[in-house]
């Protein structure tokens, strides 16, 4: 039997949902950058709100709130929990 895992980008997650970070499309570069903010692959994050006018996504990870620009959010692949 086949199971399908749906992977989305962080941008496609609806507000209030919890997801797990699967990876970064940008590879090493973004990985290193987000590590500096304490965001690692495998971390569980919750999408809190979306700023209007193409603004950033506000997420909660490990008890902290971090705003991510949409360009960055669209490169983070996540799985829904």
């Amino acid at each position: 039997m086949l199971t399908f895992m749906v992977s989305n980008t962080l941008l496609q997650v609806r507000i209030g949902a919890s997801v797990r970070i699967l990876g970064f499309e940008d590879g090493k570069n973004l990985d290193a950058k987000l590590r500096q903010y304490g965001l690692f692959i495998g971390d569980q994050v919750r999408v809190l709100r979306l700023a209007p006018l193409g603004g950033p996504v506000l997420i909660e990870a490990n008890g902290r709130e971090i705003a991510l620009g949409r360009g960055i959010a669209s490169k983070i692949t996540v799985e829904c929990l």
Binding site: L30, A51, G55
Partner: protein, 568 residues
């Protein structure tokens, strides 16, 4: 003996530093406020200790210059004890850095700061358990209230005398991802999540970051801020200025206006009253208000709301920090561009940040435009300024075609500011005005007196005539504009003197006031800011930025002359 404060951004290192060293480091409720280290001598149990406040860093493997500064310092200087400050309400993240610091093999003390905040959100931290597992002392701290500071430093001192290396139960992995996992496990083990009480602070973002109401509140907050600054400032400016004008006239009648002493006395009084009547009344409430907004944590919310708009105009998201600091003073703004990773971004952010009207230019905007044309016009200038910066950002990114990485910004929790830190911060900057800028203002006024007496001003005025003619300004504005490069307030204070010290409205038309102010807001950064630009970016970029601001200033002022004539 040297202690180094190391911790993640916005964990309260500088607050702790200021508690023991007096107000010397800038603090704010967003990360990246400290971009270079500050050192101070403090006395602990009779011993003199050098205390160093290092820029916040999430990891020792960071890539931006502010983080590199911390690494370099820890590696090169003789640090006897590392005081690792960690935000107790976000321990999983803080422990990441703690584990990394422990692997340096230096004596270390872990301070769990913001214990009050942790308690508020229902967290119970088992400090002794953590201390035992890590093998290092763990102490509670509420830096903003000064609680636990003494025992922390006493512990650090005793730790420096310890010869036996710390031994804990943990094995620290070398690999970052494994360390991160361990930090998470440790936090899960020693932090118990109790009942989380939702307070007004947690609900506040529902309003302040609301897609519609967020903007309404932002507009109201900024409007009230302006009104208060204007209200306080103008109610002081009026009587003080009148009093000084009275004294000046009386004294000049006695001495004689056309003599050398008469001119010098006139210059001296103009310099003193300029600071006392025009600058300080606006500067103090402005800095106080900015400090309040900073410490509450509202400024990053503005960044969150404005990022989409700014991106649309080609601006870099994270560059908001230099911009916000720029309203206080452009120098820390230029320095804070270090938090950006790419050199190109730093250049761009610095070039745009120097266009932000600092508190010195605020004096010109409020003292001239708000005072004579009304506070709404001051707001118009500020909004026009933002528009120009945005347009320039779009233009510059066109010349520097590179993908901007976009915004990554931590949203701090709202904090109730303590009077001590807000007062301290405002005083820190007001003192800078009193000891550095004001003497320069007075010296500038005296220099202008000499220039007038020896009849040199006309020559200088004529060299700048092409510019002043183009902008439709009186020929006498030349010298004040030249001196304005030293300090921006000088341009206004010397203008008053050059025009005979009378009421501005008798000499300048409203349109001229507006054009003059717009030009002053944008043209060449002041000398100390130029020095900061040179230090951060190099000589050539400094000249490029200075030339760039001059072009922007001319264009913007011409536009003001053209558009303003429709309204005034």
């Amino acid at each position: 003996m040297r202690f180094a404060l190391v911790g993640q951004p916005n964990c309260g290192k500088s607050t702790l530093f200021n508690q023991v060293a007096g107000y010397k480091a800038e603090t704010g409720n967003f990360h990246g406020t400290t971009v270079t280290f500050t050192e101070s001598k403090v006395r602990v149990a009779g011993e003199v200790v050098h205390l160093v406040d290092l820029p916040g860093t999430y990891t020792l493997a960071g890539t931006n210059p502010a983080e590199a500064e911390t690494q370099r310092y820890l590696q090169s200087r003789q640090v006897d004890v590392i005081i690792n400050v960690s935000d107790a309400s976000h321990l999983a993240q803080g422990l990441d850095l703690t584990l990394e610091l422990m692997s340096l093999g230096r004596p270390i003390v872990l301070a769990l700061n913001m214990m009050d905040e942790a308690k508020r959100i229902g967290l119970h931290v088992d400090g002794p358990g953590l201390a035992q597992e890590l093998g290092i002392p763990v102490l509670p701290l509420i830096a903003s209230k000064g609680q636990g500071v003494l025992s922390l430093f006493t512990k650090a001192l005793s730790q420096s005398r310890q010869t036996v290396p710390a031994s804990g139960k943990v094995q620290i992995p070398q690999e970052g991802a494994l360390r991160h996992r361990l930090a998470g496990e440790l936090a899960a083990k020693y932090v118990r999540q109790g009942e989380r009480r939702l307070t007004w602070r947690d609900r506040l973002d529902d309003l302040l970051l609301h897609p519609l109401w967020g903007y309404v509140f932002m507009a109201v907050i900024l409007y009230v801020f302006f009104q208060v600054v204007y209200g306080i400032g103008s109610s002081i400016e009026r009587p003080v200025l009148a009093a000084f004008n009275g004294w000046t006239n009386q004294l000049l009648l006695k001495i004689g206006a056309q003599t050398l002493w008469g001119e010098l006395l006139f210059g001296l009084l103009q310099g003193i009253s300029g600071g006392l009547a025009i600058t300080i009344p606006y500067l103090v409430p402005f800095l106080f208000g900015l400090g309040l907004l900073e410490d509450i944590g509202y400024l990053p919310r503005i960044a969150f709301l404005m990022d989409g708009l700014m991106h649309r105009l080609g601006l870099h998201g994270k560059a908001i920090v230099p911009f916000i600091l720029g309203y206080g003073c452009n120098i820390p703004a230029v320095m804070s561009t270090r938090i950006l990773e790419e050199r190109q971004d730093r250049f761009l952010a610095a070039a745009l940040a120097v266009l932000v009207p600092c508190s010195a230019r605020l004096a010109v905007v409020f003292g001239l435009v708000a005072f004579y044309l009304g506070p709404l016009w001051a707001l118009v200038i500020y909004l026009f300024n933002i528009l120009v910066i945005a347009l320039m950002g779009r233009l510059l990114t066109r010349f520097l075609p590179e993908e901007t990485p976009g915004l990554i910004l931590e949203m701090p929790v709202y904090r109730i500011p303590t009077g001590k830190t807000v007062f301290g911060k405002a005083w820190f900057r007001v003192r800078e005005f009193l000891v550095e800028a004001w003497p320069l203002l007075i010296a500038g006024s005296l220099a202008l007196a000499l220039l007038t007496y020896f009849n040199i001003s006309p020559a200088l005025n004529w060299t700048l005539r092409p510019v002043t003619w183009l902008l439709g300004l009186p020929v006498e504005t030349g010298v004040p504009l030249i001196f304005g490069v030293l300090r921006k307030e000088l341009s206004l204070i010397m203008l008053r003197q050059a025009l005979g010290g009378a009421d501005f409205s008798a000499i300048l038309t409203p349109l001229q006031m507006l054009t003059f102010t717009v030009f002053v807001v944008f043209y060449i950064p002041c000398l100390p800011t130029l020095a900061a630009l040179r230090r951060e970016l190099g000589t050539r970029p400094m000249f490029i930025i200075a030339g760039f601001t001059l072009i922007v200033a001319l264009t913007a002022a011409l536009l003001t002359r053209g558009l303003g004539s429709l309204f005034l």
